[in-house]
C-alpha cells in the first residue's frame, strides 16, 4: 500500500467500488441503487462511482433522485423491508445530518423493534475527507456517531481490493451498513481484485506485521500508517498495522491479539480526536490488556475545530504521518 506507483493491473479505488456494485447487481436482481445524479444521464455520479450501471441495469434499478436525503434513505429502508438490497448514496457524509432519523431511528432499529420479523439489508455509501479544499461542511468524518448506534455496521476500506470485497459484503449483508469512502482517496490506485475476491465484515486485516507497536486505523489512516511505519523502520522501530475495515462492531480479537504481542498501540483516524472512535478502541485495549502494556495507548486524530478552508490551517488541523511518528516515539520512550 505504501508503494503508490502504478502497476499494470492497478485500478482506482472508485473503480473498485463500481466493480463491486456491478457484481452485486449482476448476482442479485434485488440490488438497486438510489442517489443524486447517479444514473448515466446525470453523469454516473458526481465522482462517477456509479458510471455505466444505469446503462447495464436500467434506470429502474439505478435511480437518480431529487435532493431529498430523507426520502432517499427512507425509500431504501422501505424497499429493504420487503426483500430488496438497496444501496443508497448520500453524496457527502455531512449530508447524513439531514437523514439521521431514517438511519438511526429506523434503519438501525426496525429489526429489533419488530422482534426480528423484518430486517433492513440496506447499504448507505457516502464519501468524505479533508484535504479537498471544500471547507467546513463537506469533509467531516462522522463515523463515531454511527458506531455508537446499535444495529448499524460501519465499514471503511483502505485500498481498492478491500473496497471491492467490503462493498460487496456490505450489500449482501442482512444488516444496515454505512460504507464510508474517502473523497481524495477515490483516485488512489492499488492492485485490482479478482472477480471473486471477498472480504468478510467484522474482520480486521494485518497488512504489515511488526513487533514493537501496533498502529490501528481504517480508511484514510492506513496509508499514513504505512508511511509512518516505513519512516519508523529507519529508526529501528517495527510497527504492526491493523486495518479495522469494519469500524463497528470492530474485530476486538485481532486488535487485542496484536497488541498483546507488541504491548503498545496507537489508534489513528482522520476524524476529530476528541470523542472519536479511537477512544473506544483505546478503552477496550486498556480494559483487556492493562497490565501488559508498556505505556498507555496513544491516539492520533484531527484537531478540535471544524474543517478549515485555507490549506495552511487545514494542514495544521488535520491528523498526519508526523503525528503518528511523534505519538509512537512518545510511547516507546
Amino acid at each position: 500500500m505504501s508503494d503508490t506507483a502504478e502497476k499494470p493491473k492497478d485500478i482506482m479505488f472508485a473503480q473498485a467500488l463500481n466493480m463491486a456494485m456491478n457484481k452485486a447487481m449482476a448476482d442479485d436482481p434485488k440490488v438497486i441503487l438510489l442517489g443524486e445524479d447517479i444514473a448515466d444521464k446525470e453523469g454516473g455520479g458526481v465522482f462517477k462511482v456509479t458510471a455505466g450501471l444505469s446503462g447495464t441495469y436500467g434506470t429502474d434499478r439505478v435511480r437518480s433522485t431529487p435532493i431529498s436525503e430523507q426520502a432517499i434513505v427512507g425509500a431504501a429502508v422501505g424497499a429493504a423491508l420487503v426483500g430488496y438490497k438497496p444501496v443508497a448514496e448520500i453524496m457527502l457524509m455531512n449530508f447524513i445530518t439531514v437523514a439521521m432519523d431514517q438511519i438511526v431511528n429506523h434503519a438501525a432499529k426496525l429489526r429489533f423493534m419488530s422482534g426480528g420479523q423484518t430486517s433492513v439489508p440496506l447499504t448507505i455509501r457516502t464519501t468524505t475527507g479533508a484535504g479537498t479544499g471544500l471547507g467546513g461542511q463537506h469533509s467531516d468524518m462522522l463515523e463515531a456517531w454511527l458506531a455508537h448506534v446499535p444495529g448499524l455496521k460501519v465499514v471503511a476500506a483502505s485500498n481498492p481490493q478491500d473496497a471491492y470485497g467490503l462493498l460487496y459484503s456490505s450489500i449482501m449483508d442482512d444488516n444496515p451498513v454505512i460504507f464510508i469512502e474517502n473523497t481524495p482517496g477515490y483516485f488512489v490506485k492499488g492492485p485490482a481484485p479478482a472477480a471473486d475476491h471477498t472480504v468478510p465484515l467484522g474482520k480486521a486485516s494485518i497488512p504489515r506485521e511488526g513487533t514493537d507497536i501496533t498502529l490501528i486505523g481504517y480508511g484514510s489512516a492506513i496509508s499514513r500508517c504505512h508511511a509512518a511505519a516505513d519512516k519508523l523502520a529507519e529508526d529501528g522501530i517495527s510497527c504492526e498495522i491493523v486495518d479495522l475495515r469494519t469500524i463497528a462492531p470492530f474485530d476486538e480479537e485481532t486488535v487485542l491479539k496484536s497488541v498483546a504481542k507488541t504491548k503498545a498501540a496507537v489508534v489513528v483516524h482522520e476524524a476529530v480526536r476528541s470523542f472519536g472512535t479511537g477512544a473506544e478502541i483505546s478503552s477496550r485495549i486498556h480494559e483487556e490488556l492493562f497490565s501488559e502494556l508498556r505505556a498507555p495507548v496513544g491516539r492520533v486524530g484531527s484537531g478540535y475545530a471544524p474543517v478549515p478552508f485555507s490549506p495552511a490551517i487545514e494542514k495544521a488541523w488535520m491528523f498526519s504521518q508526523d503525528d503518528i511518528e511523534r505519538e509512537v516515539h512518545k510511547i516507546l520512550g
Binding site: 438497486i32 429502474d60 434499478r61 435511480r63 433522485t65 431529487p66 431529498s68 436525503e69 430523507q70 426520502a71 434513505v73 427512507g74 425509500a75 431504501a76 429502508v77 422501505g78 424497499a79 429493504a80 423491508l81 420487503v82 426483500g83 430488496y84 438497496p86 439531514v98 432519523d101 431514517q102 431511528n105 429506523h106 426496525l110 429489526r111 429489533f112 423493534m113 419488530s114 422482534g115 426480528g116 420479523q117 423484518t118 430486517s119 446499535p150 444495529g151 455496521k153 449483508d173 442482512d174 444488516n175 462492531p249
Partner: protein, 327 residues
C-alpha cells in the same frame, strides 16, 4: 368536500365490523389502563375509527400499511390479530414483536403492517420504499401510509410526497386530519388552508373528504387504490376527523374549546354508522352479533396478553443484528 352516495351494504357492514372492533378495543384499553391492569403510554383512537376502517376495507390484506404511534385503529382495521397486538401492547413475549417494540412500534408483516413509527412524518419516506418495491416487483400491491395533520409540517412529508409523485409510486397518503397536533391547533401551525392544498402544491392528486362518513371515505379510498393499482401514482387523502380523548391518555384536552369537542361528539361517526346499517334493514340483532363477536375477540385478546409471560431480560441481545450479540 364532494358528497357521495352511500356504498354497498356489504361494504358498510365490513367497515362497521372493523370500526366497532376498534372502538371497543380503545374503550377496553382505556379501562384496563385506568384500572392499573396495564401500565403504558396510550394514544386513544376513539373518533377516528371510520377513517381507517373505510380505508382498509378498500385494500387487501397483503397490501402494505405504514402507520404511527396513534395506529391502533389502522392496525386493527388492517386485520392484525388482536391477541398478538394486545400482547405486544402489554410487552409480552407472545406479542407481535416479542415485547421489544411496544405500542408505538407494532409490526406484523403477515397482515401487511410493515412499520409503526413514533417519529412524526418518518413513515412517509419508508412507505415510498414499499411502493417502489411493488412497482419494481409488479406485484400490484398498494401501500397505505397514515399520519396526522401535524405531520404535514415536517420535512419528510414534503420529500416523501414529491418522490412518490415523480416516480408514480403506488402509495396512498392518508392524512387523518383531527385538527390538532398534540395540543396545538392546525390553524396555528399550517400556512395553507388545507392539507389537500399542500398535496396540490406538490403536483399530487389530492382529495379532501369527511373521513367520518363511511361511504365518502370508502369511495375516496377506493378511487385512490384503483388509481395506484392502475399505475397512475399516489394520492393524498385528507380525511377530516377528530379525536375524543386527547393526544395521549391523561391529556384533558384543555386546549380544545368546549363547544368544539361537544360538536365533534355529536358528530361521532360510530353511532351514525351503526344507524346507517339499521337504516339499510340490517337487524339490530345482526349488528349486536357483530358487536358481541368483537367483544369476545377483545376479551380473549386482553386475557391472552395478561396471561402471557414477559420476555427474558437477555432478549435484548437478540434481533439487534442478524446474529446474537455476546453478553
Amino acid at each position: 368536500m364532494a358528497s357521495t352516495d352511500m356504498v354497498d351494504k356489504d361494504v358498510l357492514v365490513d367497515i362497521f365490523t372493523r370500526a366497532d372492533l376498534i372502538m371497543q378495543s380503545d374503550i377496553k384499553f382505556r379501562q384496563m389502563i385506568g384500572a392499573g391492569q396495564l401500565q403504558i403510554v396510550y394514544y386513544p383512537v376513539r373518533g377516528q375509527e371510520v377513517v381507517s376502517s373505510a380505508m382498509m376495507a378498500a385494500v387487501n390484506q397483503d397490501d402494505y400499511l405504514v402507520t404511527i404511534y396513534r395506529g391502533l385503529h389502522d392496525q386493527l382495521a388492517k386485520g392484525i390479530p388482536s391477541k398478538e397486538l394486545w400482547a405486544e401492547f402489554a410487552g409480552k413475549m407472545t406479542g407481535t414483536c416479542k415485547g421489544k417494540g411496544g405500542p408505538m412500534h407494532i409490526t406484523h408483516p403477515a397482515t401487511g403492517v410493515m412499520v409503526t413509527t413514533g417519529i412524526v412524518g418518518s413513515g412517509i419516506p419508508i412507505a415510498n420504499g414499499l411502493g417502489l418495491a411493488s412497482q419494481l416487483e409488479k406485484d400490484g400491491k398498494v401501500t397505505v401510509c397514515c399520519f396526522g395533520d401535524g405531520a404535514t409540517n415536517i420535512g419528510a412529508f414534503h420529500e416523501g410526497l414529491n418522490m412518490a409523485q415523480i416516480w408514480k409510486l403506488p402509495v396512498i397518503f392518508l392524512c387523518q386530519n383531527n385538527l390538532y397536533g398534540e395540543h396545538t391547533h392546525m390553524r396555528d401551525t399550517t400556512g395553507s388552508a388545507s392539507i389537500k392544498q399542500r398535496g396540490e402544491g406538490l403536483g399530487m392528486r389530492s382529495v379532501q373528504v369527511n373521513g367520518n362518513d363511511a361511504s365518502a371515505m370508502y369511495t375516496a379510498a377506493k378511487e385512490a387504490v384503483d388509481h395506484a393499482r392502475a399505475g397512475n401514482g399516489p394520492t393524498l387523502i385528507e380525511a377530516m376527523t377528530f379525536r375524543f380523548h386527547g393526544h395521549l391518555l391523561g391529556d384533558t384536552s384543555h386546549y380544545i374549546p368546549k363547544e368544539e369537542m361537544e360538536q365533534a361528539k355529536k358528530d361521532d361517526p360510530m353511532p351514525i354508522l351503526r344507524q346507517q346499517l339499521l337504516d339499510l334493514q340490517i337487524s339490530e340483532a345482526d349488528v349486536a352479533a357483530i358487536e358481541a363477536k368483537n367483544a369476545a375477540i377483545i376479551e380473549e385478546a386482553a386475557q391472552f396478553a395478561l396471561d402471557s409471560d414477559y420476555p427474558p431480560g437477555d432478549e435484548y441481545r437478540i434481533d439487534v443484528l442478524d446474529v446474537e450479540i455476546a453478553a
